[in-house]
């Protein structure tokens, strides 16, 4: 997955910036080593094999486990890291939360600079006194086109979707893939929660934006027929 980091402003060719950028990617690498479900030696893989207790794992694991519980509560159960596993059991896969959590934390290492970090389509930006960042939202049914452009001084944009990569979001209540929604984009202050809400809304279906009510997050949902829905504050003045 592509990770790109854009910085802008004066004084970028400096040792502090170089150290900050190195720290960003070092953090992302360490996150991968701890949480990747594709690495047999990651903490998460060892936990799922019963070889490691959460209490004995990297301290991030306990933090993420608590956030996954909070995410399940905040979304009324529509975000659930306990996926149906082989043999009818449950499998802990926090990837849907870790991506936003890690990208947000990594971007925070560069506080003080105008920054835009894009981790596989999930974006966190900050612009101090400069023009806002312009974040295009991919049209989930026509990936060559943009469905919307969000101008954002500081905050996060996360997108979940099923249209082009097949149904890979599981309805936690039925345990089966969901395909009502082509894509959901959520905008708000924190990438970890924008990402959680986008995933939960896509799992819930065409009424998924109901989950955003009262949260301070705004959303755009495109269903599989191309019809778009937005929350009341979506696309208002940049924040």
């Amino acid at each position: 997955m592509p990770v790109s980091l854009h910085l802008r402003g004066p004084g970028l060719d400096s040792a502090p910036v170089r150290r900050g950028v190195e720290a960003v990617f070092a953090l992302l690498r360490e996150t991968d080593a701890v949480f990747s479900t594709y690495r047999v030696d990651s903490d998460v893989s060892r936990i799922n094999r019963g070889e490691l207790a959460v209490a004995d794992a990297h301290p991030w694991v306990g933090e993420v486990a608590a956030l996954c519980d909070e995410a399940r509560e905040r979304t009324g159960g529509w975000f659930d890291a306990r996926l149906p596993g082989p043999g009818g059991g449950r499998w802990w896969d926090p990837s849907g939360l870790v991506k936003g959590w890690a990208a947000e934390r990594a971007a925070g290492l560069l506080s003080g600079w105008d920054r835009c970090l894009n981790a596989g389509g999930d974006v966190v930006v900050a612009a101090a006194g400069h023009p806002p960042w312009r974040v295009g939202v991919e049209d989930p049914l026509r990936p060559s086109a943009l469905a919307h452009v969000i101008t954002l001084v500081s905050g996060a944009v996360a997108t979940s979707g099923t249209a082009r990569r097949g149904a890979h979001i599981v309805d936690p209540y039925r345990g089966s893939p969901t395909a009502e929604v082509a894509g959901v984009t959520v905008v708000g202050p924190s990438l970890r929660w924008a990402d959680v809400y986008a995933t939960a809304a896509a799992a819930k279906g065409v009424t998924g934006l109901d989950l955003l009510r009262g949260t301070g997050y705004e959303g755009l949902l495109v269903d599989r027929d191309g019809a778009a829905r937005v929350t009341g504050g979506f696309g208002r003045a940049p924040r």
């Binding site: 997955m1 996150t31 849907g96 060559s144």
Partner: protein
């Protein structure tokens, strides 16, 4: 305003597994292994443009393979975008390539540079394409 872009491909290779949304079982999502997946196809000859110059974007690794584009500039305008490498890993990605890459090229030529700083989306193909394109544009502007 000065703008610089960092791409860290080694990290990307490592992060492919974590960040590809495998939230269901029973489907195998292929992982990019850059050392093997990056099989460059023969570079197409750049479009002949009077006074034009070509700049290669970074090779961007995705879970479906590698995407890299070559941009031909005529002055400040983008005259053409050619695909140097495209996804090779999985049949699904070949379908994406057939559909997505020509559309993306048209889009870029019409828009004449992205009017956005970045793109939020769930499609690995267009992300990789735009990242490679962005790196080529950045490179063209910084030399």
């Amino acid at each position: 305003m000065r703008k610089i872009t960092f791409f860290l491909l080694a990290t990307i290779a490592g992060l492919v597994g974590l960040f590809s949304y495998r939230t269901s079982f029973g489907e195998a999502v292929p992982q990019a292994r850059p050392a093997e997946a990056a099989t460059p196809s023969p570079a197409p000859p750049p479009t002949l443009v009077a006074g034009g110059r070509t700049v290669d974007g970074d090779a961007i690794f995705t879970e479906y393979g590698t995407v890299q584009v070559r941009v031909t500039f005529a002055g400040e305008r983008i005259a053409d975008v050619a695909v140097l490498q495209k996804h090779t890993v999985h049949e699904h990605s070949l379908v994406l390539n057939e559909l997505a890459l020509p559309q993306l090229r048209e889009q870029v030529l019409q828009a004449q540079s992205a009017e956005v700083d970045t793109v939020s989306g769930a499609t690995a193909t267009s992300r990789a394409y735009l990242d490679s394109l962005q790196s080529a544009i950045d490179r063209a502007h910084t030399r």
